[in-house]
């Protein structure tokens, strides 16, 4: 019987940081050069995605973000480089232990870092990391990842068709009997999210998303902007959670996935 993610983290053992992450061929330790990222800002939608309140991304902010991601921030940094776990292009490490960050709305990532720091979102690893970043650094790294694009790693093997159908159904129309609203209402068309406050689901790791739903259901995580995820997750069974997560993992997300490497 394998350790579940939950039991692992509760035991205080921080896996995959000290140990070598599961590196698949696609992961790179190189970050995207600022020049390339700035070019992406020319697209209205990307600019909107990256804007945090009144912070309009510019070259300096992107460069700072990249530095923070590589572990080289001014403040002495967190001692940690984001890329170690979250990948050079924000694609994660393939295991699903660490979520994809590429293309998440800037405001959303910034909020998560603040919530980690304050404890509003409990996480033994991220809290320490976030606390050691200054406010400017949190903004910068959030904006950086908002602009970055990378291919999705995995999934491997064939999907269970019944599960795909059930997950797709929940995603598109929810479930009347259980009173579960459709994910698409808030998480956008094809799960591409609704910046600034709603993250995308398409292309995010399935096991990560299932785990988050469990945390909402248990009341451990309750930091969503509209305070609706707990009530929704409480209506879901484990099977519902896995179905919708496995479904969305396989949905192509053109907003966050680079067309060419």
């Amino acid at each position: 019987m394998s350790l579940t993610l939950k039991s692992t983290l509760k035991a205080g053992v921080v896996i995959a940081v000290a140990a070598t992450p599961l590196v698949l061929a696609a992961q790179s330790s190189e970050t995207t050069a600022p020049g390339t990222l700035e070019a992406l800002l020319a697209d209205d939608r990307t600019l909107f995605n990256a804007t945090i309140e009144t912070t309009v991304p510019d070259d300096d902010l992107l460069e700072l973000g990249r530095l923070v991601a590589m572990g080289g921030a001014d403040n002495g940094g967190s001692g940690m480089a984001c890329i170690t776990c979250h990948g050079g292009q924000g694609e994660g490490d393939g295991s699903g232990t660490f979520p994809r960050l590429a293309g998440l709305p800037g405001w959303y990532s910034y909020k998560q870092l603040n919530d980690y720091a304050s404890g509003d979102r409990p996480n033994q690893v991220m809290t320490g990391i976030a606390q050691r970043l200054t406010d400017r650094e949190r903004e910068a790294v959030a904006v950086y990842y908002a602009v970055v694009q990378s291919p999705v790693i995995g999934p491997r093997g064939t999907a269970d068709q019944g599960q795909m159908q059930w997950g797709g159904q929940l995603a598109a129309v929810g479930n009347a009997e259980k009173g579960i609203p459709a994910c698409v209402n808030c998480h956008g068309p094809q799960g591409t999210g609704n910046p600034p406050s709603v993250p995308y689901l398409a292309g995010q790791y399935a096991n990560y998303m299932t785990y988050q739903l469990e945390l909402w259901k248990d009341g451990v995580r309750k930091n969503d902007a509209m305070d609706v995820m707990s009530t929704i997750a409480r209506k879901m069974t484990r099977e519902d959670m896995e179905a919708v997560s496995e479904y969305y993992y396989r949905v192509y997300n053109p907003l966050t996935t680079a067309k060419d490497r």
């Binding site: 598109a172 929810g174 009173g179 209402n185 509209m226 009530t231």
Partner: protein, 594 residues
């Protein structure tokens, strides 16, 4: 003869909307076996109203896909008895609903209370202004129920809906920022008010500068994650601007499905039958009671459902229609003035002010909700001195931001051509720089405005259509004219205003038309009261003529208030239920002497 006769049940409920599902919930929990008969089909917020497919202005707001199909059921209309009534061949002025939840699905979500003086309109006006003040040609009546008696029920419904607002009169304490004119309420609203965009905010600021009392519109588009007394979960409103005329996939607009139906559907005493159209209510031989209802079921068979109690919970107009078709009570005859069923039909009297801002003000009108706006109630009801004005009643005045849906929302300054190059330019130059102020006025009942059966046209089941005879009374024309001028004064006082224009639907010379949408607030026809000569039901909502028939909805209103009717009618519904449960069920009899 019916094809099928079913075993008798305790309560049969005609209609699966706000009142029908609520009656079923309360009576099922009181041990009564209830069956709801709904003409339309099943639907649910999760599956039927999920965005983005739901956010289709053409399909739902213009083609009316959530509302009744006039091919199945419509009515005929004329302005006066000197005309021939003709069918309403397309929906226009009002949009009744159909299906689970009825019009409660596509409503705006505005929740109001009647003023204490509204419920005793005749006594109050005569006391204050003298016995001669009310003209003979206005059938103004007291409801027979007081505000204090209704208060706990109005409060309960506000909590069922998670109403978002700020109390203006909390147990007698007046609070600025709320409606200081309202009757006293025992509880603060269950949720904080909605966030007001710039248009309504500027209106509120101007009103406050003028010594008026602006407040955020009370809203059933909830503002925080909320659990209602029945255990239903509602989610915060996203200001998506696809609110009224649409169902809410976010579970943010309180509706009968999420607030009530989901919480009762598994109960052993509850059953609902869809695609079941009630043809008539059947009377006992001695005419004192109803024996049950006859309906056409989903397979097209005629079914008789006997019951101890019959509850009429269809949309107000159709309750009256059903009474007329079934021979319940005595139909009103305007020639003689006798009879009460169909008498005192009223509507809502509207005017509007368009405010155009300069370029600095960007309103983003598409960020809207059905109950989003800032209101002043200083010109509603009898909140102001009517002595020298020559009319009764009043209106709320509100700068609202319901939606910016581009087919319907094309505000242009007065004098703009209605099509062509200039029109096109004006539409785009004003889209982001406008706010509308609505004057939402009361509607008095007159002997000439009434409902009866049409002699010529029929519905899909071959039954005579309801016939509506209505025009704006002079009283209401004067009232809206006066309040509209007050609204224009506020508009002219607002910051950053480039131009103001106004129009009164009920201006002198404008006949009421069923073509342009106004409100889905049709009231009266089965009026509540203490005198059987002028009412159809007694003060407990029980028919004078048939003591096991209880009636719900805005058809009970003797005249219409300057407010949306859902709040008051649900307050009445809970009031009726209290007496039905506690006094009628254990001893079936008339609860009031005639």
């Amino acid at each position: 003869m019916p094809d099928i006769t079913l075993p008798k049940i305790d309560v049969v409920i005609v209609g699966g909307g706000w009142t029908g599902l609520t009656v079923a919930y309360e009576l099922a929990h009181a041990g009564q076996r209830c069956v709801v008969l709904e003409r339309g089909g099943h639907r649910h917020d999760a599956t039927s109203f999920a965005g983005p497919e739901e956010h289709d202005e053409l399909k739902y707001a213009i083609r009316h896909e959530h509302m009744i199909d006039v091919k199945q059921n419509t009515l005929t209309f004329r302005n006066g008895r000197d005309q021939r009534a003709l069918p309403m061949r397309r929906l226009g002025s009002f949009l009744p609903g159909e299906g689970l939840g009825g019009a409660g699905i596509h409503w705006n979500g505005q929740i109001w209370r009647p003023l204490p003086s509204d419920l005793q309109m005749r006594s109050h006006y005569e006391d204050r202004y003298g016995a001669q003040f009310i003209p003979d040609d206005l059938n103004v009546q007291d409801w027979g129920v007081t505000y204090d008696e209704l208060e706990p029920h109005l409060d309960f419904f506000e909590r069922i809906c998670g109403t978002a607002g700020y109390a203006g009169n909390l147990n007698g304490e007046q609070r600025a920022g709320g409606n200081v004119h309202e009757g006293p309420r025992r509880n603060e609203y269950p949720n904080p008010p909605m966030k007001q965009p710039i248009g309504p905010t500027l209106f509120g600021e101007a009103a406050a500068r003028m010594g008026l009392n602006p407040f955020p519109m009370p809203s059933a588009n909830v503002t925080a994650a909320y659990e209602n007394p029945y255990g239903a979960q509602l989610h915060p409103c996203t200001y998506c601007g696809f609110c009224e005329r649409f169902g809410c996939g976010y579970f943010a607009k309180a509706d009968p499905i999420i607030c009530v139906y989901d919480r009762i559907k598994e109960h052993e005493n509850f059953e609902i039958r869809f695609r079941s159209t009630v043809l008539r209510i059947d009377k006992a031989a001695d005419g004192q009671t109803a024996t049950g209802v006859t309906y056409i079921n989903a397979e097209g068979r005629e079914v008789f459902q006997p019951a101890d109690v019959v509850c009429m919970n269809a949309y107000g107009l159709w309750n009256v229609h059903l009474m007329l078709l079934s021979g319940l009570g005595t139909p009103y005859d305007p020639a003689t003035g006798s009879g009460t069923v169909g008498r005192n039909y009223a509507y809502q009297t509207l005017a509007g002010v368009n405010v155009f801002f300069d370029e600095e003000i960007v309103t983003n009108p598409f960020m809207g909700a059905g109950a989003l706006g800032t209101v002043i109630d200083d010109y509603n009801g009898d909140n102001f001195d009517h002595a020298d004005l020559g009319f009764l009643g009043g209106a709320y005045v509100a700068a609202t931001q319901y939606h910016g849906r581009p087919i319907s929302y094309q505000p242009v300054p007065e004098g703009t051509p209605s099509w062509g190059a200039e029109w096109k330019r004006a539409v785009r130059e004003n889209y982001l720089h406008h706010v509308g102020i609505g004057v939402h006025g009361s509607s008095m009942a007159t002997p000439e405005n009434f409902l009866d059966l049409d002699p010529t046209w029929t519905d899909a089941f071959g039954r005579p259509l309801l016939r509506m005879t209505f025009n704006f009374p002079e009283n209401d024309r004067r009232m809206t004219d006066w309040v509209m001028q007050r609204a224009v004064e506020v508009a002219r006082n607002m910051d950053n205003v480039r131009s103001v224009s106004s129009s009164n639907r009920a201006a002198s010379g404008n006949d009421y038309s069923i073509v342009p949408y106004q409100t889905t607030h049709n009231t009266g026809g089965a009026v509540i009261g203490t005198d059987p000569a002028t009412s159809v039901v007694n003060r407990y909502g029980q028919m004078w003529d048939h003591h096991n028939v209880f009636v719900f909805g805005a058809c009970l209103f003797p005249q219409n208030l300057g407010y949306n009717p859902t709040g008051p009618l649900m307050g009445l519904a809970y009031w009726t239920l209290e007496h039905l449960k506690n006094e009628y069920l254990n001893n079936a009899r008339p609860l009031m002497d005639a």
